[in-house]
Subunit: 211 residues, 2 copies
């Protein structure tokens, strides 16, 4: 890809690409994604829970089954995941930026209909969303599995974009008397809140601290 | 809105609506949004920085100006913001859920072209993204403002969806010997990382702790 010289320096910090491993790492860090599709020429973007099953993106939404049905009908979709990793404080507003990792996956999603595959895929999803939880839960009933709508989208056509590192100020700004750098963001778990309908005393399980 | 009796209980915890104040609160907590639009029948979802200026959503992207141009050309778009507030651990995988707040805003975005309006809007954006920072930054130059592409989208046609509270298990599961509750999520700032090209010693400013 040719680069205009003016943008070369910037691009060292902001990489576009289509490396499968980078895409997987971005997906594996996610619990939700934004699914875009078009119905009667109008665009929609809905948040859905997601997980990766090898080279497939699994999607699970509390969205109306109408939406799931539209997606499963072979609509083209674009699924985007973005992690905001930090704020980049340059010496000017113009050069300030954000550190982030994003992936856009394009394709047609498919409803998972085979019962065995659905059951297995649901396990994969639950394990990515709530690592460690699955082992202590009862099995889903056939009725529950029937009411669960899962989609899969091949991770084949995608593009990643990642910005890391410090601000990228022009030399003429380096003398300005202002702090510059990065404030990284992280997610923390608050204290687990036990459900009010717990019938017996059970302490919050250890795996919660690793969510 | 009529409700099927089966879903009534669930809906007490998962509210859809179109209250302007709720939409504003969701937007004001955000730094990024996902912008969906359709080009030649294909959907795209791109992450962009965002802020609220009264009843307008401001959008600013490091995306190619081609995308900004498409959006500004009167394309319909759907902008979705989602905050994942916590994981809801029910006694079964099926009833497990997430607490979240989301808003979808529909409409046509407009490129902000008036120089004064652009300069003011850019200030609003910077202040929402990096509260306190603006006061110590130099003014943007006319050339920088010219190279800044900002869109505005009226917060008029939108829908919010919010889930809060504990899991919602069926009575038949309440005796299961498994912890149930919510693990809330929060964002924290890591230690500020000073830019390697800082020419003098300046400690990280106090407002960083409030990001």
């Amino acid at each position: 890809m040719s680069q205009h010289p003016d943008t070369r320096h910037q691009r060292e910090k902001e990489h576009g690409g289509n490396d499968f491993k980078i895409a997987c790492a971005i997906i594996d860090d996610a619990r939700i994604c934004h699914v875009g599709f078009t119905v009667e020429e109008y665009p929609y973007v809905v948040p859905m829970a997601c997980a990766r099953d090898k080279d497939q993106l699994l999607l699970h939404g509390s969205v109306a089954s109408r939406v799931m049905k539209s997606l499963a009908d072979g609509l083209d979709c674009c699924v985007t995941i973005t992690h905001l990793d930090g704020l980049v404080f340059a010496r000017s507003a113009f050069h300030s930026s954000m550190n982030y990792r994003s992936v856009m996956i394009f394709g047609k999603a498919q409803l998972i209909e085979d019962e065995l595959e659905k059951s297995r895929s649901f396990d994969v999803l639950v394990e990515q969303l709530m690592p460690g939880r699955l082992a202590e839960l009862r099995d889903s009933t056939p009725k529950e599995l029937k009411a669960t709508h899962l989609l899969k989208l091949p991770i084949e056509v995608f593009t990643t974009k990642v910005r890391t590192g410090p601000p990228d100020d022009p030399k003429s700004d380096l003398g300005l008397p202002v702090w510059a750098g990065v404030v990284p963001f992280g997610t923390i778990n608050g204290e687990p809140v036990t459900a009010p309908d717990m019938r017996f005393k059970t302490s919050a399980p250890a795996y919660l601290s690793k969510m």
